[in-house]
Amino acid sequence: MRNSKNKLALFGALMVGGLTLMAIFAPLIAPFNPSDIDIEDALLSPSRAHIFGTDHLGRDLFSRIIFGARISLSIGFVAVGISVLIGLVIGSVAGYYGKSIDTILMRFVDIMLCFPSFFLILAVVAVLEPNIINIMIVIGITSWMGVARLIRAEILSLKEREFILASKAIGASDLRIIVRHLIPNAIAPVLVSAVLGVAAAVLLEASLSFLGLGVQPPTPSWGNILMEGKASLGVCWWLMFFPGFFILITVLGYNLLGEGLREYFNPKKKI
């Protein structure tokens, strides 16, 4: 922990850890059931009983945000899991086999990168049904290109090394070489991009739910709590402030952690 950068990374790790614990232990932390409707208590401003206030149906906002963390964070994790998986397969196949397979796959990556990705995501979500599983899949299949490029570049340089030649010489199969020898040695930059990817996916989910094309109410996610709060814009500030604030600290936490990891793995390259 020598300089301020490390402190920032530690701070990020603490935020990420805290939010994850909050999501896991949501039922223990939340003071109310997040879907308990109580019209008489609708639109209360923050007080001791409801520390973040209540929404238009009288549901406790604090509890909804805590349970929303489960949805928003799990979408972030699973979406990134899908994108890393696709990226690993495409990137390592392209890097390992090279030649025309490499050319075709990398052209495909170029094409995918040319889409204004939010347009593509919107189009896919709209034609599919907007639900949690589809959101995870859609974010995953539109964000794997960075991982594919990273892993391909690493493998291109690794595959000429002696330990790979050695395992080829003793007759290891291609699959074994890729999975056991190449990927583990190339995983560091992928890990960094995965951590940063969680931040991006949480933000994407929130944007989609905010437009009504993401997680559908009454299931709480940070994005759709914000969407519902939009109706009382300028009247009930807490309905928009708190969910947005949680998105902010989540994205901030993952970004700080990701940058810290990047520096740890590759101290020379600073961003």
Partner: protein
Amino acid sequence: MKKYIIKRLISIIPMLLGISIISFGVIHLAPGSPVDSTTTLNPKVSFEAREKLIIQYGLDKPLHVQYLNWLRKLVTFDFGRSYSDGQKVINKIAVCIPITFLINILSISFMLLIAIPIGVTSAVKEGSFYDRFMTVFVFVGFAVPGFWLALMLMSFFGITLGWLPVQGITSLNFDNLSVCNKFFDIGKHLILPVFVSSIGSLAAMSRYMRSSMLEVLHKDYIKTARAKGLSESKVVYKHALKNAILPIITILGLSVPGLIGGSVIIESIFGIPGMGRLFFESVMGRDYPVIMAILVIGALLTLLGNILADISYSLADPRIRYEK
């Protein structure tokens, strides 16, 4: 140089073909059909009328025939007619594009105007309190959800203080205003959208600027410039800045898809009739021709942005030659 540009422009064609095939497949393979919203949900429409609509739109043909038909028309820049109101797609888009362009150009200029000085000054004062403060500021700026910031600013400046309008790009009495007031009216409507859409890239860009500047400041020719006895400001602003700004050009080119995509949210929130909102509405209404057109145009803009970035990079840096 000319050869290179031509080669790059030609390379757009296969890319666009790939993009259009993927978009077409994604949109058309999905369950449900665009005529559903006007037929199945409306009990007055008979089965025959539904069939007629499907034939009229050519949706009864196999997918590859539909695609080739679409492609054949595209060559003459005919994107077909919108399913929702029968207008020519190209006309609908022509109305929207200038608005989206205006907002994006303004926000890029605003972003560069702020980000470059922040990046340069924090690199020069590396490790100072100012630099550390800016680092935190940049990380927070990067993490702020744009739509949330938009709503918070809208409710504060628009509703609580009542200083700025919150919807659209013109006031209701726009037609009665003088030319000068029209200009101010649009300007007032654009302040919040432009600010919000530039804040994320502002943070990223100032970060890139800082690291690029730091790298240059440690180069030998900067030491030489200092050794010659040049003033610090001349070293920083003349020798270092010129070189440090080069990578920024590339990043600017790469930021085009993000800007175009981001316009969906900004335009929906502020009720601006631009490309993003048109796309959102078409997606909701399954207006295939409009969706396809905007996806292809968006991708074309992205490709052109990349080429433009490479070309300006080579113009700015004589060491880079793209001949052959």
